[in-house]
């Protein structure tokens, strides 16, 4: 039959159910009308005319088909969803209530059936309602049993279910034939007994009941008792109480109609009884099951919390709450021991932090809380530690909290009665303690990761700011081509270079190196930039600028910090350079193929007061010619190390300059960086590198070749 196909869509099933219900109601009303006219007004018994009996029987059967159809559709839809405790409890409740209500109705309603003839319309209606109720409850129960057994099926369940169905039909048939011969009635009773045994054998796999919690089991016991009682009552009434209105109604509805609900409810009784004993048998281990399930739940919850909580205090609060719940303690708190600080009480439950502090004044309690390396259970504080017996805290469990292999705190659970905990509580809390320690370590890692990310962001900002402090492009200076680069060893550095203009209007370059690296160096570098900007326009030359910078900075620098700096001034008119040096790496001049280094006297900025600094700082002057190269560097260049920590020295750079011939300023920087790169050979750069290259060119528009040669010879001579 395709309409009962399991794959029929939900909507089709609903439509079909509606059709069944409407058809059933229409048929029921029609049947009531027929019975009313035939029996009540006509005074006939329902069986005395064959035609009427056939019509009534067909109507009854069709109504039953409708009921069976609806039940079948309902359970095919639920097929596949497992029978949970809630479903079972719901079904038991529904069955017990409806079955008992039916019995009550049958007992209370006036029964005016005389010799199989209902004597008034009310009786017709009530008997029909009772009969229909009986069949709905029974068929519903049968459907539920079938579904339940299918869901908890074992290898013979299918065969048993078919056998039970056949037995039910057999019982009905034999019961109908019972009016012919008593042998059939006897056979019918035998079949019912066999059916009950088959039912008993079908019920298997009830182990899941053992995993239910105590109160669920208690509820299930009560429900199975009610359901078994209702089923037993209904079954026995149908079997033995043929005068009862319920039985009579069923018989008037279907001939020998009482036997079928009787059999089904008997099976139900067997089922409920079996369930009752299964639950009863699993009761003694309920405590253990409860504890285990709540342990597993708590640990799982704890693990989830670990993954979600980044904040230690929040985590400890949840942990304490959980420990409290699982151990059924009266109160709990977490105390943390910060380095050299006071004991910090967090997450106190049912106890005030001040009270905990007060407890610590007891030497024995204090030692108990902070000293134990493993979880400890004290059944009686008064007996074990001699603690004042009037304290409300009588028994405790302490669990040490470990973070980074260091004792950082204790989780304390207490009870206000002696022997308030079991050994199991201690075992569970030990597991808790380990998990909490892992969580604490994890939160620390998380905090570190967050902190690192925050620092990285700040570094990024600092890096952007610092690079904006350095000049973007060299200025246009007649007869001079400039290029410069700075490469910090870390995100930000302490190297600085800039293009300046002195009081006399001549252009110049400064280069500086703050001792140290990173943020402190970068802050000094930014300060120096401010000083240079403020002082350059009133400076009379390189030495003056250095002196002013020293005077401005000396008071505000840390003792161990200093800045090396060099300033040069270029006079394009006379092709001369003036320079001064404050402890900085020497200036390199390439002239033809010779290299000269200039190291005028000078001490780094920030070391000595102006009165010494100004005297020491020497300013020198030298001439340059077109094609000459001047290179300013920081010590990150000559101190570039290889894997064996060998520094490159300045010589390779000098050799390169001597041999480079004519080159642009940027090409010179590229070549220098290549040299450093080769030497470094992939090792980390450990100091900031800054290079400023200056290439002098002849002013073609104003200088003839002869003049230029003269200039060169003039310089060389």
């Amino acid at each position: 039959m395709t309409v009962f196909n399991l794959t029929t869509s939900k909507q089709q099933k609903q439509t079909l159910s509606t059709i069944f219900v409407i058809t059933g109601i229409v048929l029921l009303v029609a049947r009531m009308v027929v019975v009313t006219f035939w029996a009540v007004y006509g005074g006939h018994t329902l069986t005395d005319t064959f035609m009427v009996e056939v019509v009534l029987t067909i109507a009854s059967d069709l109504i039953l088909v409708c009921v069976i159809g609806v039940v079948f559709l309902y359970y095919t839809q639920r097929m596949g969803t497992d029978v949970s405790y809630e479903v079972l409890a719901g079904a038991l409740t529904t069955y017990a209530i409806s079955a008992l209500a039916l019995l009550l109705l049958g007992a209370l309603l006036p029964n005016k059936v005389v010799d199989g003839i209902p004597t008034d319309i009310v009786t017709v209606v009530t008997s029909h309602v009772l009969a229909l109720g009986t069949f709905i409850v029974s068929i519903g129960l049968a459907g539920f049993l079938g579904w339940f057994l299918q869901m908890r099926r074992h290898e013979r369940t299918g065969r048993y279910l078919i056998l039970l169905t056949i037995i039910l039909f057999g019982v009905w048939l034999l019961s109908a034939l019972g009016s012919i011969n008593d042998v059939f009635s006897g056979l019918s009773i035998t079949l019912v007994v066999i059916g009950s045994i088959v039912m008993l054998m079908s019920i298997k796999r009830l182990n899941w009941l053992a995993t239910l919690t105590m109160d669920k089991k208690i509820r299930l016991l009560w429900l199975t008792t009610c359901a078994a009682f209702a089923a037993g009552l209904l079954a026995s009434w149908h079997a033995f109480n043929s005068d009862a209105f319920v039985t009579q109604s069923a018989a008037m509805f279907v001939r020998s109609g009482a036997i079928l609900p009787g059999a089904v409810n008997l099976f139900g009784f067997v089922f409920f009884a079996r369930l009752f004993f299964a639950v009863l048998a699993s009761l003694p281990n309920s405590g253990i099951v409860d504890r285990r399930s709540s342990e597993v739940e708590s640990l799982a919850h704890l693990t989830r919390m670990m993954a979600e909580t980044a904040d230690v205090d929040t985590l400890l609060a949840s942990v304490t709450q959980f420990a409290l719940h699982v151990c059924r303690a009266h109160g709990a708190w977490c105390e943390l021991y910060d380095k050299d600080g006071p004991i910090r009480v967090v997450a106190s439950k049912n106890v005030h932090a001040d009270y905990v502090t007060m407890l610590h004044q007891d030497r024995e309690l204090h030692r108990l809380f902070i000293d134990n390396a493993r979880p400890v259970l004290i059944d009686s504080l008064a007996d074990t530690l001699g603690v004042d017996g009037t304290l409300p805290i009588r028994s405790v469990i302490t669990v040490p909290l470990i973070r980074e292999q260091r004792r950082t705190g204790t989780l304390v659970m207490f009870s206000t009665i002696e022997y308030g905990f079991e050994a199991d509580d201690l075992r569970l809390l030990t597991a808790f303690g380990d998990t909490i320690s892992i969580a604490l370590d994890q939160t620390r890692l998380m905090e570190m990761a967050i902190e690192n990310e925050r620092l990285q962001k700040e570094f990024d900002v600092a890096q952007r700011i610092q690079s904006s402090l350095l000049p973007i492009a060299p200025p246009d200076i007649p007869s001079l081509h400039l290029a410069a680069i700075t490469i910090p060893a870390e995100e930000i550095g302490g190297d600085y270079y800039d293009y300046v203009r002195f009081a006399n209007g001549r252009p110049g370059v400064i280069i500086a190196d703050v001792s140290g690296k990173g943020i402190p160096a970068a802050l000094y570098m930014a300060t120096l930039k401010g000083v240079v900007l403020a002082e350059m326009r009133s400076s009379h030359g390189p030495a003056d600028l250095l002196c002013r910078a020293n005077a401005a900075l000396i008071g505000s620098m840390e003792k161990q910090t200093y800045i090396t700096m060099m300033a040069v001034e270029f006079d394009a008119q006379t092709m001369t350079m003036r320079m001064a040096r404050a402890g900085h790496t020497p200036l390199l001049l390439r002239s033809g193929t010779t290299i000269r280094t200039y190291t005028p006297k000078g001490i780094a900025i920030g070391l000595v007061p102006p009165k010494t600094f100004d005297v020491v700082t020497e300013e020198i002057e030298f001439s340059v010619a077109p094609n000459d190269i001047v290179m300013l560097t920081t010590d990150g260049v000559n101190e570039r190390r290889d894997a064996n920590l060998q520094e490159i020295g300045i010589e390779p750079v000098c050799d390169m300059l001597a041999g480079i011939g004519t080159a642009t300023a940027s090409a010179i920087i590229t070549k220098t960086l290549d040299l450093l790169h080769q030497h470094g050979n992939g090792t980390d750069q450990h100091d900031d590198i800054t290079i400023v290259a200056m290439v002098f060119v002849g002013d073609i528009a104003t200088t003839t070749e002869d003049e230029r040669l003269q200039q060169i010879y003039g310089v060389l001579s």
């Binding site: 001792s515 001490i603 070391l607």
Partner: protein, 119 residues
């Protein structure tokens, strides 16, 4: 990396000699700082730093001497530097440290440079 070490010895004249060896850079500078701090808080104000076995010094290493020089001098003492390898001396020289510190070729000469306490 050559392990940095700094060992303090006090002679009969009360002069502390700190023997340095290895690499003195930003990482090892804090170590030297604490050693010098210990020596000074123990009452040593006449200090000779022996650079004979020091292979390398970085800018951060130089800074350490700046931290203490002022207080030592105000106590009537001094920090004198001695026996530098040429490379190490170059670093000091470039920075202009000879203006600030007395630098001697040998430890003995440095010790001799301290006036005797009786004077």
């Amino acid at each position: 990396m050559n392990q940095f070490t700094a060992v303090t010895q006090q002679d009969e004249r009360g002069i502390c000699c700190i023997d340095l060896a290895g690499y003195l850079d930003a990482h090892t500078a804090t170590e030297l700082e604490s050693i010098m701090n210990t020596a000074i808080t123990n009452g040593c104000s006449r200090i000779v730093v022996n650079f004979a076995d020091l292979e390398y010094i970085s800018s951060a290493g130089l800074g350490v001497f700046m931290v203490f020089i002022e207080s030592v001098r105000s106590d009537g003492g001094d920090i004198k530097l001695a026996a530098m390898k040429p490379k190490v001396f170059t670093v000091f020289d470039l920075l202009g440290f000879p203006v600030l510190f007395e630098i001697y070729p040998t430890v003995e000469e440095a010790k001799q440079a301290f006036p005797s306490l009786d004077a």
